[in-house]
């Protein structure tokens, strides 16, 4: 107990040094927690954007189509019949679904031409699954059967197109012949998902089917379930029910998307960088223990002369560092909690702060990022500060305790 008391009193021997070291630890923890919160917020937003503006909760497609979907093939499509639609409505957790027909298209405005993705949709059904309705910033959504199109606002800016302009969509049919859709731009869409805003041209599903000569076929269905936190068993049940109906159909959860795993991998990478930051805090601890030991060399000698054992001297120094870790950890967690709270309320407009569009870096976000809470990070970082400080001090404390008592007393 006496060594505990001594270590506490030693903390205030050099208050400024103790506070600076604790502040370094606090800063590292605050930074980690804030960054982690931002990543969580970013992930949540990315995932929500994917669900709300592009993917839905699950998609149903032919596995052969799915494996080549990036190529936008007009093969292995699904016959959009009422029986299948009825079957989808009976699935556990069902909320809504909508058919989609993705196809390759070149957008021509009479002067310029650019490759984009054509997407045939049924507006009403699509609105029930994806949150497009509120993001048509100019004009309106077309109706089925109309030779009209809705394109992303960003795409319109790039192509210098306006509402009411006519565009030509050049595509290949299922029979590999060329065909075109001449359509008037009836609306411009600007969602929080930049992929929608600059890469996709929406047309009525029936017009797309006619043009592509695919009868009543669609490439896939998008579905919204009652919750996005569905578990694997719901997907398994869904899959087995669907297999009973049509063995050529598979269910794909948004959680299996490549973008989701890439985002998680990015988070791991960032954690590694932040661990390096925390290593700097550990160096601070090592530094303070060595400085303290050098300053207290005569005391260490005196303690050894009195018969204090090496392990007791090590314990005294290690305990002192542990208190610094505790102070730094507590401060860091408090500051981190304030930071996460503020970020969760007010958010962080990265684009405005850094004067850049982070969607250019492949992150489908264009709006403010709101911080997310992860209590595990708080607990982990708090104990990391304490045990990290403790571990970092062991070697220098051992070095101090092993000093020859005569050399220590007389500072030789």
């Amino acid at each position: 107990m006496f060594l505990v008391k001594l270590s506490l009193k030693n903390l205030w021997r050099h208050k400024r040094r103790t506070l600076i070291t604790a502040a370094i630890i606090a800063w590292a923890i605050f930074f980690y927690i804030t960054f982690d919160s931002m990543l969580i917020g970013m992930n949540d937003m990315v995932f929500q954007n994917i669900i709300d503006y592009e993917y839905g909760h699950v998609q149903v497609a032919n596995p052969n189509y799915w494996s080549e979907k990036e190529e936008l093939p007009l093969e292995n499509m699904i016959n959009n019949n009422e029986k299948l639609n009825q079957k989808l409505r009976e699935i556990e957790g069902y909320q809504d679904h909508a058919p989609q027909l993705n196809f390759q298209v070149r957008l021509n405005d009479g002067v310029n031409e650019t490759p984009v993705m054509g997407r045939g949709i049924e507006p009403d059904k699509t609105f029930s699954v994806l949150n497009y309705e509120d993001y048509i910033v100019e004009g309106e959504m077309f109706q089925m059967g109309e030779n009209k199109t809705v394109i992303g606002k960003r795409l319109a800016e790039i192509m210098k197109l306006e509402l009411g302009d006519y565009i030509t969509l050049l595509t290949r049919t299922e029979n590999d012949t060329f065909n075109t859709i001449d359509a008037e731009i009836s609306g411009l869409i600007n969602t929080p998902n930049p992929n929608i805003n600059q890469n996709i041209v929406f047309v009525p599903l029936d017009i797309a089917q006619d043009t592509l000569n695919v009868d009543n076929k669609v490439t896939h269905y998008i579905m919204r379930l009652n919750t996005q936190n569905f578990n694997n068993s719901i997907i398994s049940n869904f899959q087995s029910e669907l297999n009973d109906f049509n063995s050529n159909l598979s269910v794909y959860s948004w959680k299996d998307l490549d973008e989701v795993s890439i985002t998680k991998a990015k988070q791991s990478g960032n954690a590694l960088i932040l661990i390096i930051v925390l290593t700097i805090a550990a160096i601070g601890i090592i530094n303070i223990v060595i400085l303290s030991a050098l300053e207290r060399m005569e005391e260490i000698g005196m303690m050894k002369a009195l018969g204090l054992k090496e392990r007791e001297i090590i314990f005294s120094f290690v305990l002192e560092s542990t208190w610094i870790g505790l102070i730094g950890g507590t401060l860091g967690v408090i500051l981190g909690a304030i930071s996460v709270y503020l970020m969760s309320i007010y958010g962080l407009d990265f684009g405005a702060i850094m004067n850049m569009d982070i969607s250019e870096y492949g992150i489908p976000i264009i709006s403010t990022i709101y911080g997310g809470w992860n209590i595990g990070t708080f607990v982990y970082m708090f104990f990391f500060a304490i045990f990290g400080s403790m571990l970092a001090s062991i070697l220098p404390a051992r070095w101090a305790a092993k000093k020859d008592p005569v050399q220590a007393i007389y500072r030789r």
Partner: protein
């Protein structure tokens, strides 16, 4: 206050040094600090070791205090040869049997006078809180610092600090107290006060004192004078009575 002359209560041997040699190696050069020292210290003796700088006084005290090991020779402490003991075993002997008083006091600046003394006895770990308190207050009272127990070292004079250091050395009732130039940083009046305290402890507690010095005033207080020159004992004299309390 005049003290009674010390009574000789026990003439049994506490410490015997047999042919003690200590050689320091500085690169390829061997520097002998002690060259075949033979010495016997009896219980409750009040002995000074004097001599010029570099004569081996501090080395002798370090070897006797188990802080340093001799290159050759035997040290019989309390009937046990301790010359070849491990660091850990020497640490235990220091903890239980030896008290130290250093020239620069070596008090812990963040602890009060009371806590600095308490520290030395707390590491023994076999006393209750009340026993520790009684012992610490008793020893502080003996060195005349009972009313300054809550002072921090920076609030004490040099003499008071050295008294705290003496109290710290004595509180665990060691068989031997070693003091390396205890008056070196003190003026003559304060030195005299400190020596009187040490002599009083020797008289009342019968603790054996061995201290190094080259201060003639300190030598006047010693019951036995040992002179060292170039690592050899050149003089060893006992005095029956020391009349310094008037």
């Amino acid at each position: 206050m005049a003290l009674k002359p010390r009574e000789v209560i026990n003439k049994m041997s506490l410490l015997k040094l047999k042919d003690i040699t200590k050689i320091y190696h500085q690169g390829e050069i061997n520097v002998p600090a002690l060259r075949g020292i033979n010495l016997e210290i009896e219980k409750s003796e009040f002995t000074t070791v004097f001599g010029p700088s570099g004569s081996g006084k501090t080395t002798l005290l370090n070897v006797i205090g188990c802080l340093d090991k001799p290159t050759e020779g035997d040290i019989i402490f309390n009937d046990n040869n301790i010359a070849d003991l491990s660091k850990k075993e020497l640490s235990t002997i220091r903890r239980e049997n030896i008290g130290f008083v250093f020239q620069s006091y070596n008090l812990i600046p963040v602890l009060t006078a009371y806590e600095n003394v308490e520290f030395a006895i707390k590491i023994l770990e076999h006393l209750s809180k009340n026993e520790i308190h009684e012992k610490v207050m008793h020893i502080l009272d003996l060195v005349g610092l009972a009313d300054l127990e809550d002072r921090m070292p920076n609030e004490l004079s040099g003499g008071q600090k050295q008294r705290v250091a003496i109290a710290r050395a004595l509180v665990k009732e060691p068989k031997l107290v070693l003091a390396d130039e205890p008056s070196a940083n003190l003026d003559s009046k304060t030195s005299e006060d400190v020596l009187k305290v040490m002599l009083k402890m020797n008289d009342e507690l019968h603790t054996t004192f061995l201290f190094s010095t080259h201060d003639p005033l300190v030598m006047d207080y010693a019951k036995r004078e040992i002179e060292l020159k170039d690592g050899l004992i050149t003089k060893d004299e006992r005095r029956e009575e020391v009349n310094v309390f008037s």
